[in-house]
């Protein structure tokens, strides 16, 4: 099942909002730093990755974490891996 | 019409109710009003005064003294596609129609497997304070709030008197609307364009931080008076107007109690097995670890409502008894 860019972004938004319920992800620039913007600590980030993995079914390794800095980065990874 | 400032009108609770009925009759020809003396006499409490002349005997119908009969007729009309407003003179008399309300109106949707809705609104007067004694003065809205399948609402302000009826008529299922007898003459200003209001949410009528006072209907103004008195001593009470007695807006109640940590429920019904008991129980269930003192209740004395003025006053919740309960809670 391939994931579209829109779907991937929605997954990112959902995952962030599960951790920071009032996060305004939609209005965030797609190159903004997610961890810094929403003050995600390493445990939050791990939960974020977990939510993305569960939602998308895509495998994400620690080596991929640098790609997950921004919404755009997350979406690219999910789209690429699901293709 | 431009967005110029909307004016206000001087009105009363009674007139606001009448205006709401008038609007419903005008806007929806499925709506009609029936009940004892609602036509020629203009309603026992003069709510429907003039409506017979305006809308004619087909739309404003006088009924015989037979609550079971005319409420049953209302249920039938609702099933057949009408939007009846049935007026019962007082809640005491509604017990004669309890079979229709509980066994028919409230259950038909369930019994028909979801096929038969009963879009009926029943209005009735409730409560004491007018020396009408033990057969015309009780507060049984809490009993009705016990029944699944109906909604129970209690307008306590001019806005709600004006705005709740229409929303209730839009509901596909039975709604009971309780008008406290002491409110009919309440006057005040209402926005000229005052319109429909929701019938689910509890309103904060006065914000505060020290204690949550839960009230509704005829008790609201007494509770607000109590809050004024308490404010003089620096106790800031948050006053909630339930508005909907069934379903209860738990979220609003708990939201308030979880920041005040204390609650006093003011309910003109009797204490035992009452709506106040239900609210108290829910607060304890949902906010136990936020409570800093036991939930207090201010209810009517458990006696048939006395006729004598001083006895009736003594039997009812009063601002002083609310103040005393708050002082027990706040300590």
């Amino acid at each position: 099942m391939s994931i579209t860019d829109d779907e991937a972004r929605a997954m990112v938004a959902r995952a962030v909002r599960r951790i920071v319920p009032d996060a305004e992800v939609e209005t965030l620039a797609s190159d903004a730093d997610l961890r810094r913007t929403f003050e995600l600590d390493s445990l939050d980030f791990l939960s974020f990755v977990e939510l993305l993995v569960n939602d998308s079914g895509v495998r994400i390794d620690e080596d991929d974490y640098p790609e997950l800095t921004t919404t755009a980065g997350c979406a690219d990874l999910l789209v690429r891996r699901s293709a | 019409m431009t967005t110029a400032t909307v004016g206000t009108v001087e009105t009363t609770y009674r007139e606001a109710l009448r205006e709401a009925i008038r609007e419903a009759l005008r806007e929806d020809d499925r709506v009609f009003l029936m009940g004892e003396d609602v036509g020629m006499y203009g309603g026992c409490f003069a709510v429907s005064l003039g409506l017979l002349e305006e809308f004619g005997p087909e739309r404003v119908r006088d009924t015989p003294l037979s609550e079971s009969g005319f409420v049953g007729a209302g249920v039938g009309a609702a099933i057949a596609g009408m939007r009846p407003i049935v007026e019962i003179m007082t809640v005491n008399f509604s017990l004669l129609a309890l079979d229709q309300i509980l066994n028919n109106a409230a259950t038909l949707l369930h019994m028909s497997g979801g096929q038969v809705h009963v879009p009926l609104v029943i209005r009735m007067t409730t409560g004491a304070g007018r020396q009408l004694a033990a057969q015309h003065s009780h507060s049984f809205e809490g009993w009705y709030a016990h029944i699944p399948g109906i909604k129970v609402i209690a307008p306590a302000t001019l806005e709600d008197a004006r705005g709740m009826l229409w929303t209730a008529l839009q509901d596909p299922d039975p709604v009971l609307l309780f008008e406290h007898g002491s409110l009919y003459n309440m006057s005040g200003t209402l926005a000229e364009d005052a319109g429909h209001v929701d019938i689910q949410r509890t309103a904060v009528r006065r914000p505060g931080r020290d204690v949550t006072l839960v009230s509704y209907g005829g008790s609201l103004s007494k509770t607000l008076d109590a809050a004024e008195t308490l404010a003089v001593d620096g106790i800031e009470a948050e006053v909630l107007d339930l508005r909907s007695l069934r379903p209860l807006d738990d979220e609003a109640i708990m939201e308030s109690v979880s920041h005040t940590h204390r609650a006093v429920v003011v309910d003109e019904g009797w204490r035992s097995g009452s709506l106040s008991a239900e609210i108290s129980a829910r607060i304890t269930e949902q906010c136990f670890f936020d409570l800093d003192s036991p939930v207090e209740r201010v209810c009517s004395a458990e006696v048939p409502m006395p006729y004598a003025k001083h006895l009736e006053e003594a039997a009812l919740p009063q601002p002083e008894t609310v103040v005393a309960a708050v002082r027990r809670a706040v300590g």
């Binding site: 920071v20 995600l40 600590d41 390493s42 445990l43 791990l46 939960s47 990755v49 977990e50 993995v53 994400i60 390794d61 620690e62 080596d63 | 931080r209 920041h259 940590h261 136990f288 670890f289 936020d290 409570l291 800093d292 003192s293 027990r328 300590g331």
Partner: protein, 478 residues
């Protein structure tokens, strides 16, 4: 009431398992008795018909008190069955003789219930009076078997019962007619201190010992206000009244009370720490290349839900190091160091909205890394949901504050009283690092230790950090 243990003086009858009028046989369970340790079924010592209950459920009675009276089975010799269950009154609670019959060889119970040679008992419970009369007697606490009847054929009348009650009340024959003199209510007469649920929760969150809080509510109930006052009082020595200002909310604003109280608590605790604890600080930078590489490999094998973060390694190393340096793991109390019973690392967690808590991961050093990780995630989640448990707030023996996620390289923290040290963890940063005369780029972390100079000296702190560093070189052994 049988003695169900050497240290048992009394027991509470929880419930009857039989009814009056039931036929019971030796060994049949008759009642449930609570011994303070557990609920135990008490069995009949004999065959018979349950004549009457002498003790109401919920009543606590001394060992040796008769619980029920048995009437003989039809056809059985009367004397044989006219015994009370299970121990005769006045019998000393000898362990051997009073143990439950079920636990004994079959021959023993006979010796328990009726010492041989049997002494005929003068007062035998026989059905006296009609049910209304028995009810009346029970209400007045009159033992019908001790009332002499004045009715036809010596029957006890209502008037006899009233007279017996009146005599007993007058103190004429206090021991003759009124039953249950030894019973005491299960509920202690004086209830313990009452504490409102909110105050209890607040005390847990703030680590306040409720036994030391005096209540100002109704009947002396402790309320939230009392707990807050206790926190402030403990943080403010009587000689320094100047502190009062720091907890006062700014005039004119009505901040959310929980946040305000949390802030006031932190203010009070930290002021106390800085005022009372002579801090010393030591710091070191640790090469984490082995640790991070090991983590990377391990995490590749682990499902995402079980992946480890570096904080788990650091916590585990700190816990093991604390075990090696117990003088840093414990409390300063009454002018001396009291070691912790085990290492319960406190983890400083900042809660969204401004509060800070440092609940414990119990027995941190005994957990494997996966367990530390799971405990950490669970703790942080519950801390943020405000669902910490009392022990977690009360038990930390040494606290770790990790601000690496906030991007700072170093934390020089303030000790949580009454603990005696605090470990600060900074961000993992790649730094140029000299190894064997070469410069490489290595992931490193800055560790600090704030120590209470009353309890330990800088050298202890230094040794502790060295131990942590050594442990982190061998992450696979953690």
């Amino acid at each position: 009431m049988p003695s169900l243990g050497a240290d048992m003086d009394s027991g509470t009858l929880v419930e009857w398992l039989v009814h009056e009028g039931d036929t019971v046989h030796r060994g049949d369970p008759m009642a449930v008795v609570d011994t303070d340790k557990s609920a135990i079924e008490v069995e009949s010592f004999d065959d018979g018909v349950v004549e009457s209950f002498l003790v109401e459920p919920g009543t606590r009675v001394a060992v040796g008190t008769p619980l029920a009276a048995l009437a003989p089975l039809a056809g059985a010799p009367a004397e044989e069955a006219e015994r009370r269950l299970p121990a005769p009154p006045g019998k000393p609670p000898s362990r051997k003789h009073a143990a439950p019959p079920a636990a004994k060889p079959p021959a023993e119970p006979a010796a328990v219930t009726a010492a041989k040679p049997r002494v005929p008992k003068p007062r035998v419970p026989v059905p006296v009076g009609a049910p209304p009369l028995r009810h009346h007697a029970a209400e007045l606490g009159v033992d019908l078997t001790r009332v002499s009847g004045t009715g036809p054929h010596g029957e006890v009348t209502r008037a006899d019962v009233d007279r017996a009650a009146a005599e007993a009340r007058a103190g004429a024959r206090p021991e003759t007619a009124l039953v249950r003199p030894e019973t005491v209510p299960v509920r202690p007469a004086a209830r313990g201190t009452q504490v409102s649920p909110y105050a209890r929760r607040l005390a847990e969150e703030l680590g306040v010992d409720l036994a030391r809080v005096s209540g100002t509510g109704r009947n002396g109930a402790v309320r939230a206000e009392d707990v807050r006052r206790a926190v402030e009082a403990s943080a403010r020595p009587t000689s320094a009244p100047v502190e009062a200002r720091e907890e006062a909310p700014a005039a004119g604003e009505v901040p959310e009370s929980r946040e305000r109280s949390a802030r006031a608590t932190i203010a009070a605790l930290m002021s106390r720490a800085k005022r009372e604890i002579p801090h010393y600080y030591v710091a070191t930078t640790v090469d984490l290349s082995t640790a991070t590489e090991w983590l990377r490999r391990t995490n590749r094998e682990r499902p995402v839900s079980e992946r480890l973060v570096p904080a788990a390694l650091l916590l585990k190393s700190a816990a093991l190091a604390a075990r090696q340096h117990p003088e840093l793991n414990g409390f300063w109390a009454d002018g001396r160091f009291v070691p912790g019973d085990d290492v319960h690392l406190g983890v400083a967690v900042s809660v969204r909205g401004g509060a800070l808590v440092a609940p414990a991961i119990h027995h941190t050093a005994d957990l494997d890394l996966g367990e530390v990780m799971a405990a950490l995630r669970d703790l942080v989640k519950r801390a943020r949901a405000g669902r910490l448990r009392r022990a977690e707030m009360a038990d930390p023996t040494l606290t770790v504050t990790d601000l690496g996620d906030q991007g700072v390289e170093e934390v020089i923290g303030i000790i949580y009283p009454p603990q005696v040290a605090l470990i600060g963890v900074g961000r993992i940063v790649e730094r140029p690092w000299a190894v064997d005369g070469m410069i490489g780029v290595r992931p490193t972390v800055r560790l600090t230790l704030s120590g209470d100079h009353r309890a330990t000296d800088g050298a202890t702190g230094a040794r502790f950090l060295n131990t942590v560093e050594q442990l982190l070189l061998h992450p696979e052994e953690l």
